[in-house]
Amino acid sequence: MTLFSDTRYLFVRALKKLVRNPILIFFSLFQPIIFLVLFTQLFRRFNELPGFPPGISYLQYAAAGILLQNAFSSALQAGTSIVDDINYGFLQKMLVTQVARPAILLGRLSSDAFRVTVQSVIILVLAYLLGFRVNTGLPGILLMLFIIAFFGLAWSGISLALGMRTRSAETVFGIGGFLTFPLLFMSTALVPVSFMPSWMQDVSKFNPISYAVNAVRDLSLAGFYSTNAVLESIGVIALIAVITMSATLYMFRKVVS
C-alpha cells in the first residue's frame, strides 16, 4: 500500500510547511475574524427586519456563512502550493521517484481539507465566545466540520487545476479573490434569501455556497431532523467535487506525462 503511505508522507510534509508558515493561516483567518467580530456587530440589528428568522441574533445567523466563506477562500488558494512545487522543480523531483503518483494529489488535497477544518475550529471557538451556539451539540459540530471540509476539498480541486494550468501563484490568488465576494454576497451566507432582489435570489438558488451554508446553518439553528438541507448540500458538493476533481486529474495527467 504505497499509495497510502506516500499520501501520508506528503500530507505530513504539507502540514509541516503550514505550521512553519503560520502567517498563511493568519492571513486566511484575518478576514473571517473581521467578519465575525465587526461585521456581525455592524449589522446586529438585521434581526429586527421583517423576513429574518425570529428569535436569533445576527451572529447566530451569519456564523455559518462566515465558516463557509473561510473554507471557500482558503480552498481557492490551495493551487498556489502546487505552483511552487512545479516552479521549484519539486514536483519533477517527486516524479522521478517511485512515489505512487496519485499520492501527490491526495497528500495535497487531504492537507487542504485538514487546514480548512483547523481554521473552522478556530472560528467556531471564537464564535462560541461571542455567543454562537450549536443546537445539535458535538455530533452536529462534527457533521458541520465534515460538510465544510468536503466543501473546501471540492473547491481546492479547481484551484489546483488552475495552478497546474497557469503555473502562476498570482493568477491563482487573483482568481480566488475575484470569485470569493461575488459568490459570497449572492448566497444565503450573510442574509436571508428574502432580503435579496429577485434576480439575486435566482442566482443564489444556483450558488453552491447557499447549499452548504443552509446545511451548516440548519445544524446550528434547528436540528438533525432538517436533514434535507444536509443531504442536499452533500449532493451539491459531491457534484462540484466530481467536476473539479476531473479538471484536476486532467491537468495532473498533462503535467505528469
Binding site: S5, R20, N21, G89, L95, T97, Q98, V99, S257
Partner: protein, 339 residues
C-alpha cells in the same frame, strides 16, 4: 563492459513543432562518467527528461539499465537518481527532512534510511546544518543537499542536468570533487549535461558535443581535441616606438607567412592567434623570425586546443557562456570571418 544507457535514433518533437532532439544515438558504459556538452537549447535537458521517464519520446529507442524507457519506467525510477537544473529542495523542510522525505518516496524506511541519510549528510558536509531549514542554506549548500537527496536510494545511474550552472567557482569546484569521488569510489555511472567546457573536460571520460538537437561529435575529450590537429599560439607585439595597432598586426601576419606548419592565423583582439602543428617546435621558429625583424614580441602563449575549438569546428560557432568568453577569447573569437 556493460552498457547501462543505450539510445538509438531518438527524437522528440514538442507539440509546438520544436524539434528538440533530432535523431541521436549513443551509449554509456557501466561506471562511466559521461557528458553532454552544448549551449542552451541544444536538447540536453530534453534528452535527460526522456531518459529519466519525465517526457515521452517521439521516435527511436532508448533503454536505461537494460530497461525500456516507455514500458518499464517505474522500474527505471528505482535505479536512477536525477538532479534537475533547478535546485529542488523544499525550503520549509530541514535538510534532514528533505532527505527523509525523498527516502520515504523511494520506499526506504526505518533505521536503514536514517543511517543512510546521516552518512550522506556527512559526506556532503551538511551534518552541522542538517536540522536547519533548507531555505536558510546558501546556494552551494542547497545544491549539495539536492545531490545528496537524490542519492538516498543508492541509484546505479545519476543524471545531472547542468549541476553547476549558476554556482560560484569555489562551489563548482567542490561539486566537481564530490562528483568525481562518487564516480570513482562508489562506482556510480554518471550522465551529466553542461555548457561549461572545462567541466566537461575535467569530469567526463567520454562525451557528446551537442547542438540544435543533434550530436555533432563524440569521443573522449583527448580524442576530440586531437581532431583539431593544431596548437594555438597567441602573441602580442609592439614596434620600435612601443606602439601596437592594426598595422602592426598586418606586419606581423606578413612576417608569419614565411614560417612553416601554420594552419591559420586569426585576430585575437590585442594580438594574433596562430594555429600550428606541433606548437612546441613552432615557437623557436616564431621567435627567430621576429628577432630578425623590427617587431618585438611582448608575450607568447602556447595552448592545446579546447573543446570549444571542437565545437567551433563542427558547428561554425562557439559555445556561448558569458563567463567563459574571457578565458577562450584568444582562440577563434575574432577569426570567424577570416576563415
Amino acid at each position: 563492459m556493460t552498457e547501462v544507457i543505450n539510445v538509438k535514433d531518438l527524437t522528440l518533437t514538442y507539440a509546438d513543432g520544436t524539434k528538440a532532439v533530432q535523431g541521436i544515438s549513443f551509449s554509456v558504459n557501466e561506471g562511466e562518467f559521461f557528458g553532454f556538452l552544448g549551449p542552451n537549447g541544444a536538447g540536453k535537458s530534453t534528452t535527460i527528461k526522456i531518459l529519466t521517464t519525465l517526457l515521452h519520446k517521439t521516435s527511436g529507442t532508448a533503454s536505461v539499465v537494460g530497461l525500456d524507457i516507455e514500458r518499464q519506467a517505474p522500474l527505471i525510477r528505482k535505479l536512477i537518481g536525477v538532479q534537475s537544473q533547478d535546485t529542488s529542495v523544499d525550503p520549509e523542510l530541514t535538510g534532514r527532512e528533505n532527505m527523509l522525505l525523498e527516502g520515504h518516496l523511494q520506499q526506504m524506511h526505518g533505521k536503514e534510511l536514517e543511517e543512510r541519510v546521516d552518512s550522506l549528510l556527512n559526506v556532503v558536509g551538511l551534518k552541522e546544518a542538517a536540522d536547519k531549514r533548507a531555505g536558510r542554506y546558501s546556494g552551494g549548500m542547497k545544491k549539495r543537499l539536492d545531490l545528496a537527496s537524490v542519492l538516498v536510494h543508492k541509484p546505479k545511474i545519476m543524471f545531472l542536468d547542468e549541476p553547476t550552472t549558476g554556482l560560484d567557482p569555489q562551489t563548482r569546484a567542490t561539486v566537481w570533487d564530490y562528483l568525481e569521488q562518487l564516480n570513482k569510489s562508489e562506482g556510480i555511472t554518471i550522465f551529466l549535461t553542461t555548457q561549461y567546457l572545462e567541466e566537461a573536460d575535467r569530469l567526463c571520460q567520454r562525451l557528446c558535443i551537442v547542438d540544435q538537437g543533434k550530436i555533432v561529435a563524440q569521443g573522449t575529450p583527448a580524442e576530440l581535441k586531437s581532431e583539431i590537429g593544431a596548437d594555438a599560439i597567441t602573441i602580442t607585439m609592439k614596434d620600435g616606438q612601443g606602439k601596437s595597432d592594426d598595422s602592426l598586426k598586418a606586419k606581423g601576419r606578413q612576417l608569419l607567412q614565411s614560417l612553416p606548419n601554420i594552419m591559420n592565423v586569426v585576430d585575437s583582439g590585442n594580438g594574433l592567434t596562430i594555429y600550428a602543428k606541433d606548437g612546441g617546435y613552432f615557437v623557436p621558429d616564431l621567435v627567430r623570425a621576429f628577432d630578425k625583424s623590427d617587431i618585438k614580441l611582448v608575450s607568447i602563449n602556447l595552448s592545446t586546443p579546447s573543446l570549444d575549438d571542437v565545437f567551433l569546428k563542427h558547428t561554425g560557432k562557439r559555445i556561448r557562456v558569458e563567463e567563459l568568453q574571457k578565458q577562450t577569447s584568444s582562440m577563434f573569437s575574432r577569426g570567424r570571418g577570416s576563415r
